[in-house]
């Protein structure tokens, strides 16, 4: 009998916090790709002897925001610890992180899975500093310390995820929440969010956890899914053959989609954590925490509920719109300007608008199409000023040139015509030009009606009101039957 295996996944997410200055010094946080290397550094973030860290209060505030948004318990006293290891991108020979008493623990996130809503438990949220960036070329290695000391938030789940899809759903949701809170830029390609997956598999239905492996450097949703899938398959095959899994740290190769061993258990790092003596315990005032809680923005769950309750959207329509803050905001701005119902606005956003966003690769924040113009277009279509087909033409023109829809309709002569005599002329011409199709229709091939509709639309350059056209077509065809 073939045994079924169930994956068990826990995720560690590292997210850079959107502060102006670094975690422990006054250096500016800059774009790690475009900024001139090693220009935003000082004695502190390059680990010069004698330099000392001073905690950035804004980083703590943003971290508390995330902790609260994830429904965590915030520790009013947390402790920074040194995580000791050698690497050239780590200037002090240790990373200031948190260990025994992290900033926040015991939170949760709701994700949507095929089986419905699922709750993923958050084990801990803690603050730490980012490392420098290494690059290699021409047989040399280069270190850029611009990123060294940028505040990082580490968010760790319990091993609650049961597939790579769930892992992705979790990662996507967390990404959305960080954007909602405006604590992270969300630019995955710039490495501002990075994943590590702890993966094990076990016989379906069994309790307890098997040996896990840890996959590092998963820097996109795609890499996360691929890496987890590859590892699930590898472990399943090994168990199926009667083998055993070694505890190890794996890297992930984006090009091949495969994981590879970085370190085995015997060479695992002993980080020798101990409390950071250069920083006193981080003591937070509970009133301050409450004031942050009070100022939290509306989060995806709440927004979804509101969209369902206030706008009459279905849960899946609402969730589609709230998956990204920028999309939800755009939707609401269009809706506010439009006379049309929310469902109509939703179908425009989910249809033409998203098609354009996906095809153009422009992010929603950068779209120039004003919500006012978009709303007007939607309303013009609903009012039958233009046909649906014309509306798509106008939409494409609007996103390209930014002009308003009325002007485009006028310039292109796209106004819909309901004038019966104009349409009647077109109908008669279509029927006269296609006697054999008329014959087939009259012989019982009803589906040809749609074909005639298309011909009429073409003859009127899409301006004919389709309802009027259909009425006149049926009438003319019936007359020929007589």
């Amino acid at each position: 009998m073939q045994l079924k295996y169930e994956p068990i996944i826990g995720l560690e997410v590292h997210a850079e916090l959107l502060t102006k200055s670094k975690m422990f010094c006054g250096c500016e946080v800059v774009d790690s790709i475009t900024a001139k290397p090693n220009h935003y550094i000082c004695p502190v973030c390059t680990g010069q002897p004698g330099a000392l860290p001073v905690l950035n209060k804004k980083a703590v505030e943003l971290a508390v925001c995330v902790g609260l948004a994830l429904d965590c318990k915030i520790h009013t006293e947390s402790i920074f610890a040194r995580k000791n290891y050698f690497y050239p991108d780590l200037p002090k020979g240790y990373q200031i992180s948190q260990y025994d008493q992290p900033l926040a623990i015991d939170g949760k996130i709701q994700i949507e899975t095929e089986a419905g809503i699922k709750e993923v438990r958050i084990r801990r949220v803690h603050l730490e500093e980012d490392t420098g960036k290494l690059s290699h070329a021409d047989g040399h290695s280069f270190i850029d310390y611009n990123r060294s000391g940028v505040p990082l938030l580490e968010i760790v789940t319990e091993p609650d995820l049961r597939s790579s899809e769930e892992a992705k759903a979790y990662a996507t949701k967390l990404h959305a929440i960080l954007r909602y809170l405006d604590v992270n830029s969300g630019d995955m390609e710039k490495g501002v969010i990075r994943f590590e997956a702890n993966v094990s598999v076990r016989e379906a239905g069994s309790e307890g956890l098997n040996t896990r492996t840890e996959i590092k450097n998963l820097n996109s949703f795609r890499a996360l899914v691929q890496g987890a899938d590859y590892e699930i398959k590898r472990q399943t095959e090994i168990y199926s053959r009667g083998g055993i899994i070694e505890q190890e740290t794996l890297g992930f190769n984006e090009a091949t989609g495969k994981t590879y061993s970085q370190r085995g258990k015997e060479s695992a790092h002993d980080y020798r954590y101990f409390p950071e003596p250069d920083l006193p315990p981080l003591v937070l005032d509970s009133d301050w925490i409450e004031s942050i809680r009070a100022s939290l923005p509306e989060l995806p769950e709440a927004k979804t509920k509101r969209f369902i309750a206030d706008f009459g959207l279905t849960p899946s329509e609402a969730r589609f719109l709230t998956a990204e803050l920028s999309l939800a905001d755009y939707f609401e701005r269009v809706l506010a300007k439009s006379k049309s119902p929310a469902k109509t606005v939703h179908s425009w956003i989910a249809g033409e608008f998203m098609r354009y966003v996906n095809d153009s690769g422009i992010s929603i924040e950068d779209i120039t199409l004003s919500p006012e113009s978009f709303a007007k277009l939607i309303d013009m279509t609903a009012d039958k000023v233009i046909s649906g087909n014309s509306a798509k033409v106008v939409f494409n023109e609007m996103v390209k040139n930014g002009s308003n829809p009325e002007q485009i309709v006028q310039e292109k002569g796209l106004a819909q015509v309901s004038d019966e005599s104009f349409i009647q002329d077109a109908v008669m011409k279509v029927l006269n030009d296609n006697p054999s199709e008329v014959e087939k229709y009259l012989a019982g091939k009803d589906t040809l009606l749609q074909w005639f509709m298309g011909r009429v639309a073409r003859a009127t350059k899409g301006k004919a009101d389709p309802n009027v056209a259909k009425e006149l077509l049926v009438k003319a065809l019936e007359e020929r039957r007589k």
Binding site: Q48, P49, G50, G93, Y273, D278
Partner: protein
Amino acid sequence: MDLHELSIQQAHELLSSRKVSSEELTRAYLERIRRLDPQIKSYVTVSEELALKQAKEADQRIKTGEGLTPLTGIPYSAKDSISTRGINTTCSSKILENYKPFYDATAIKKLNSSNSVLLGKNNMDEFGMGSSTENSGFFTTRNPWNFDYVPGGSSGGSAAAVAAGLTPFSLGEDTGGSVRMPASFCGVTGLKTTYGRVSRYGLIPLVSSFDTIGPMARSVYDVALVLETIAGHDAKDSTSRLEPVENYSEILKTTENLRGLRIGIPKEYFVEGLDSAVDFSVRDAIKHIESLGAEVIEVSLPHTQYAIPVYYLILFAEASSNLAKYDGIRFGLSERSVESLMDVYLKTRETGFGAETKRRIMLGTFALSAGYYDAYYLKAQKVRTLIRQDFQKAFETCDALITPVAPATAFRIGEKITNPLDMYLSDVFVVAVNLAGIPALSVPCGISNGLPIGMQIMGPHLSEETLLRIGHLYQSQTDWHTKHPPL
């Protein structure tokens, strides 16, 4: 009187009345260093060019008469673990042999804003690990009172330089007696400040939770003048204290007696093994202080016996982490003619660190390892709390405690270097103070066989004013601090 014998206060009077210039004073010291230091070896670096430049600037300021402080134009030196911009700061380690910081420590910045004059940097045990300067990566400093003897450590270069008249004062650094012990061995006055009273920014750390910068000079009054200049909160040091700094020297001027003060004598510090001359001198000094109006009582610090193991355990652990940055990547020594990154680390650290430093890195790495943390580091921290509580309890009944600084006078060069444990035990009276984070003053109180003896006056957190008052009144009636080594 020779220029090098002037107290800071005397020199300040001559400078501000323009009877002598800072440049003259500075040249006198540089000349004396040139003459005597080849034998004493108290300086690792003499920053002559900078000193003359700073002296001329000081003279300019004196000429305008604006914003003069008691330290304007006064030369000084600093332990080589205190960062000085553009001037070698080596911690007496080969691994930092040519390291020039690109920033000044906060304490140095404060002296710069007084227009004090940096003569150079003083030798020490490598990264502060030692009690004799024999662990310096470069050379051993000699005790100016007898060249066959150590000056104490780790701020041995600072103490020797002050004692030999090679600087009016020096910034020392005390992690576990490193200011007090050499001050006692060399017959100078040294203050271990309250943890956090002087910013550690720019002080190359040995043990971040114990390290303190403190002045070493020829009198308590001079120490007070330096302390009020360098102390204070620093936004760059999260462990620095917020309390305002007192005007210590003014307070000293108006102190006439010690009435109302109660001095505790911890019985655990006067035990078998204490050198009889030290015992006699310190008890004599206590009698003197009693005669100034203070009440003297016996107290107990029952956990004293654990201070040495607890101190060294925490030291090893923190030091192993603090020394990780010397990896040959960004500054200091870097062994590059090797095959791999791991070899850069291994070779650089093998060549750059001395034996004692390596020993302590290994012990600390072990103590912090998974599975051993609770048994060593955590337990040490718990006992540290008990030691701290000993002091708290003692200070409920008295204002200060007086003990010897060291169980004996300076030992011979080479006498203890082969026995690290014996060397560690010479710190027995001084390390508890660092565990508790309290201040302590080392004051000369006798001479035995031509070598100085010091007493230690300890007080609660931020009680520097009390300690300085006791020391100052004692010195105003005795002359131990005015005695010079026969050079």
